[in-house]
């Protein structure tokens, strides 16, 4: 029973982390290695609003999402747009920006363990005599809401359809009058907002630490690859797969294999089925 509850919580956390990365790669084919940095910087920005400026919590959450969305858009607009298409340069450019942000934060004095965010709601409740705190339930709730919103957004709004069009085939979308660069900027902004949302939800559980940036990036990549690069629905499913796998290894195999699970998942998926659950990398190879 506890495996079920904490499995879902862990999986929803993974899904939130990975959604931003999956969305950006799905639409603009850019592996956004600065995802972890956006996650951490949104944590510190919210901390700034709440603790330093004393702005009330909900307003600061809203402001942070806007700021992070703008930061993501700027990164794409001025840096990534020039390197689109060249696989190796995209990875290095986005990773270098991520590293610069993280190390800049560390140099700016954001080190140590005293930076935290307040929890949405205090206290905990026993579900079938398993203690679960409200904040984690809120995380699951918002996670489900985000997935539903994304599904509605991509299926029923004009921008959403344009984004999906571009995800399938950029040139075809261009021909239909969709400005692919603008769409990519929107995708990057949306992806960063999702990273910001994940940070605001997950960081109150512990404290804001610069190292979290690296771990989040690795977990996000693991989930996206298992789910098939390019399809965010696959990422959500893969998040549940890896989430439960981690919880199961902790209970049965021993807790120190936990991190190894996510990394091995990547290696095996890529070797057995490079396109993951929903990706379409396989079909490209067939065309001789």
């Amino acid at each position: 029973m506890d495996i079920l509850i904490y499995g879902t919580i862990n999986s929803m956390a993974l899904a939130l982390m990975a959604l931003g990365f999956a969305l950006v790669y799905g639409i603009s084919r850019i592996p956004n290695f600065a995802h972890g940095a956006l996650y951490v910087i949104s944590g510190f920005v919210t901390w700034g609003f709440v603790r330093a400026l004393g702005v009330n919590y909900l307003l600061s959450v809203f402001l942070t999402m806007i700021i992070i969305g703008v930061v993501g858009a700027l990164i794409y607009r001025f840096i990534l747009i020039r390197v689109r298409g060249m696989a190796i340069s995209e990875i290095i450019a986005s990773y270098a920006i991520g590293l610069a942000i993280l190390e800049g934060l560390r140099w700016g004095g954001f080190k140590g363990m005293t930076y935290t965010l307040p929890v949405f709601v205090e206290g905990s409740v026993d579900i079938a005599e398993i203690p679960v705190d409200f904040h984690r339930l809120v995380v699951v709730g918002i996670g489900v809401a985000v997935v539903a919103f994304l599904w509605l957004f991509t299926h029923h709004t004009r921008i959403g359809l344009a984004l999906r069009g571009m995800a399938q085939d950029e040139r075809a979308a261009l021909m239909l009058g969709i400005d692919s660069d603008l769409m990519a900027v929107v995708a990057m902004a949306l992806g960063s907002m999702l990273a910001g949302l994940a940070a605001i939800l997950l960081l109150p559980l512990g404290n804001i630490v610069v190292e979290a940036g690296y771990n989040v990036l690795i977990l996000a990549i693991a989930v996206c690859i298992v789910g098939g690069l390019g399809s965010w629905m696959g990422a959500v499913l893969a998040a549940f797969l890896i989430g439960f796998a981690q919880i199961l290894t902790v209970t049965y195999l021993g807790s120190h294999y936990q991190m190894v699970v996510a990394l091995l998942a990547i290696i095996f998926t890529l070797i057995l089925r490079p396109s993951g659950l929903f990706g379409q990398q396989k079909e490209l190879e067939e065309r001789v």
């Binding site: 990875i91 290095i92 450019a93 190390e103 990549i221």
Partner: protein, 337 residues
């Protein structure tokens, strides 16, 4: 300028066409035109340790040479074989651990453990990378980026090979000069070795695999066999670097798999000029000393070094060496008619 008739004449007039083809070079002027840059490089590398102010900077040069091995391996794989391998740390780690084990448990001296660790490490890395050879583009890059992290976690979880403390008391080189010149000679050896390999027939096959692997398959050659050879060459280079590093620092542990070993060689290749085998080595000689000089600034140094990297990539300049080569062939001198 007096009023004599004169015109600008390209230095390499006549040389470039003939040297590209199969004809021999005659005059001394043409001979030194071609060999001078290479000589400057070799002599420069050899006298560098002598001219260095303090022993600390000599140690920095050894670190530069280790990164140079990785950069050579990466450039060879990425530009000549089309496999973008972000796993430099994987080779360093495997090579380092092998050298440490050979030295501590079997007691071989450094000059014996390094060759064994290089070849054995190269074989092991190739075997481990075999399953992901058919992958393409971003996938191969991400898998190779993940390999060192997986090994790091596995060694940490199973607490083997000395666990998180690593292996201590590895013998160091006999003395400073042997260590310094051994590493520099190795860099020169592999620099010109790779340049020659790339122009050999097998080098052409690697380039063909990069251009169009279906065509290579249609001419009756098994591409994964040739990709494996290319990966073996690159991983042997990386393991050589790892082994030297372990003997320089008399220690080997899981932090040999750190990300720095994967990212810096790529940055050096981008700045030095991908495609020219000398470019990455030049990139290392620029990047590592700069990051040492900036050490006083603490973590700001990483920010500097990332911004320089992004600037190079975004302005998509082809790197110093390629720019240099292009300019070198365009030198002109004023010739009287």
């Amino acid at each position: 300028m007096n009023n004599e008739q004169g015109r600008k004449e390209r230095l390499d007039r006549g040389i470039k066409v003939r040297t590209d083809g199969l004809y021999a070079i005659m005059s001394l002027r043409e001979l030194c035109y071609l060999t001078v840059p290479r000589l400057v490089l070799i002599v420069g590398l050899l006298i560098l340790p002598l001219v260095m102010p303090s022993m600390y900077w000599q140690r920095v040069i050894s670190i530069v040479c280790i990164y140079a091995f990785l950069a050579l391996g990466f450039d060879f794989l990425a530009h000549f074989v089309g496999l973008v391998c972000l796993g430099g740390a994987f080779f360093i780690g495997v090579g380092g651990y092998l050298a440490a084990i050979l030295n501590t448990s079997f007691g071989f001296p450094p000059l014996v453990t390094i060759p064994i660790a290089t070849l054995l490490g190269g074989a092991i890395c190739t075997l481990l990378l075999l399953p992901c050879l058919p992958l393409r583009g971003v996938y191969f890059a991400i898998v190779t980026l993940m390999y060192p992290l997986v090994l790091m976690r596995i060694i940490e979880a199973l607490n083997i090979l000395g666990g998180t403390d690593g292996i201590m008391g590895v013998a160091s080189f006999a003395n400073r000069w042997i260590e310094q010149y051994f590493v520099i000679l190795m860099v020169l050896l592999f620099l010109f070795g790779l340049r020659r390999l790339v122009n050999l027939d097998i080098g052409l096959v690697f380039r063909a695999v990069k251009d169009n692997d279906q065509a290579v398959r249609a001419s009756g050659m098994n591409i994964s066999f040739y990709k494996a050879i290319a990966v073996f060459v690159a991983s042997a280079l990386g393991c050589l670097g790892g082994a030297c590093l372990v003997h320089i620092y008399m220690w080997s542990g899981i932090s040999l798999f750190a990300l720095d070993f994967s990212i810096l060689p790529i940055a050096a290749t981008v700045i030095g000029g991908a495609g020219t085998v000398v470019g990455p080595v030049l990139g290392c000689f620029i990047l590592v000393p700069i990051s040492e000089l900036l050490r006083a600034f603490g973590t700001l140094r990483i920010v500097f070094y990332c911004l320089i990297l992004v600037a190079f990539i975004v302005f998509r300049s082809e790197g110093i060496m390629v720019y240099g080569q292009r300019k070198y062939h365009q030198f002109e001198r004023w010739v009287k008619i």
